[in-house]
């Protein structure tokens, strides 16, 4: 083997080696790499019991209830299979609304309701003009109806 080919091999092996090491590390810490826990896992009891964590999902339509005269509110979050009730008191981000992605930080209460101390809104990868969104919403509403009913087979809180 020529010296140049040896160097080529060394560089190639170094990149592959670092890649494998990184993949193994991330596999070992997989749960800690997740920014939030899926709702189905929360309902199944697969979440950190002794510390705060984040849940992520969509805010269920017509589920937001505000307490009069305060910032306290409750709403429900779904991943289209399962649902969790959330309690929160505080300021909300601009993008928070029904049907939108949301990430809540807090802990699980004994009654199965997630008590959030921080709410973040998650934006999806679609950008469009208001008029386009409106006409799209009319089509989606007709098709999306069945999905709304699927969301209640497992519930917490």
């Amino acid at each position: 083997m020529k010296p140049r080919q040896q160097r080529m091999l060394a560089v190639g092996l170094a990149i592959v080696g670092v890649g494998i090491a990184a993949a193994l590390t991330f596999r070992a810490f997989d749960e800690n790499m997740m920014f939030f826990v899926e709702i189905s896992d929360v309902v199944a009891g697969e979440y950190p019991k002794e510390r705060n964590f984040r849940i992520g999902g969509l805010v269920v339509e017509d589920s937001i209830e505000r307490e009069k005269g305060s910032l306290a509110m409750t709403f429900r979050v779904t991943d289209m299979r399962c649902e969790v009730g959330v309690e929160y008191e505080g300021v909300l981000p601009d993008l928070f609304r029904e049907g939108q992605g949301v990430v809540a930080h807090g802990r699980m209460g004994n009654d199965g309701v997630f008590v959030a101390d921080k709410i973040l809104a998650k934006h999806d990868e679609n950008y469009m003009a208001p008029e386009v969104a409106e006409s799209l919403a009319q089509h989606v509403d007709e098709k999306m109806q069945p999905l709304q009913e699927v969301g209640t087979e497992c519930v917490s809180g």
Partner: protein, 250 residues
């Protein structure tokens, strides 16, 4: 063709070709950025949810993309420099690092400014996309610090090339972080399945900005490589002749 590239990699030849190359990159680049800025601010309609705030993507997306492209130049230059012992390749890596760091910083800052009103937070520790992009910035800093701490250019080239190659894994992580793990950051818009998730009047200015930024990056890189080459070859005869020539090194 092959001979042309081989010829280009000789420092004095690159120094001449680079000078003619720069305006061909910079002028179309600036024109595209001018169009993209105007169209992005005035012609593109507002977003159905974010209103006018989405317009920061016209800076954020090109900056984030170039933060990774500059790293690719750095690592590729390092790899070629190590394997083929090519002087110019190491100069490319050295020239790309500060540009990459600047674009990474810009991507992080514009992301935070957008994140405060939209997500409700400037910064979230533990988010894979945000954290890996921050690590990218530190990799650039590490590369530049390592380079400047070694006086011998040949040794600095080797050490920093190894660092750049090891860090390649992080660029892959930045790109796929939103797919592999749950993240606050949204997924791919431009290359998602079923075409870009964006209206045409918003999309074209974005593409113009991406290409414009890339050309401008090319022009800045070509210019920085020229400077780097001149410094590295400062003791050679062609640089001496160039400097002593009547027109003074043009």
């Amino acid at each position: 063709m092959w001979k042309f590239f081989h010829h280009l990699t000789s420092p004095p030849h690159y120094y001449r070709v680079g000078a003619t190359l720069i305006p061909w990159l910079a002028i179309p680049g600036l024109a595209l950025i001018a169009y993209g800025t105007y169209a992005g601010l005035f012609l593109a309609s507002e977003d159905y949810q974010q209103g006018d705030a989405f317009r920061i993507i016209y800076v954020h997306v090109p900056a984030a993309y170039l933060s990774m492209l500059a790293y690719a130049f750095m690592a590729f230059g390092g790899g070629i420099g190590l394997i083929w012992r090519m002087k110019l390749a190491h100069a490319v890596g050295a020239a790309a690092a500060p540009l990459g760091a600047a674009f990474t910083f810009l991507a992080l800052v514009t992301g935070a400014i957008w994140g405060r009103p939209m997500w409700g937070t400037w910064w979230e520790w533990g988010d894979p996309r945000l954290t890996s992009e921050l690590i990218l910035l530190f990799l650039y800093f590490g590369y530049m610090a390592l380079r400047s701490s070694i006086d011998d250019t040949a040794k600095a080239d080797k050490a920093s090339a190894v660092l750049a190659l090891v860090g390649v894994v992080n660029v892959v992580i930045v790109h796929y972080s939103v797919e592999w793990w749950s993240s606050l950051h949204q997924g791919q818009t431009l290359f998602k399945k079923g075409g870009p998730g964006m209206d045409a009047d918003m999309l074209y200015p974005l593409l113009a900005m991406i290409f414009g930024f890339t050309l401008l990056f090319g022009a800045l890189l070509a210019r920085r490589i020229r400077t780097e080459v001149l410094f590295r070859e400062r003791r050679t005869r062609w640089v001496r002749e160039l400097v002593l020539a009547p027109e003074g090194g043009k």
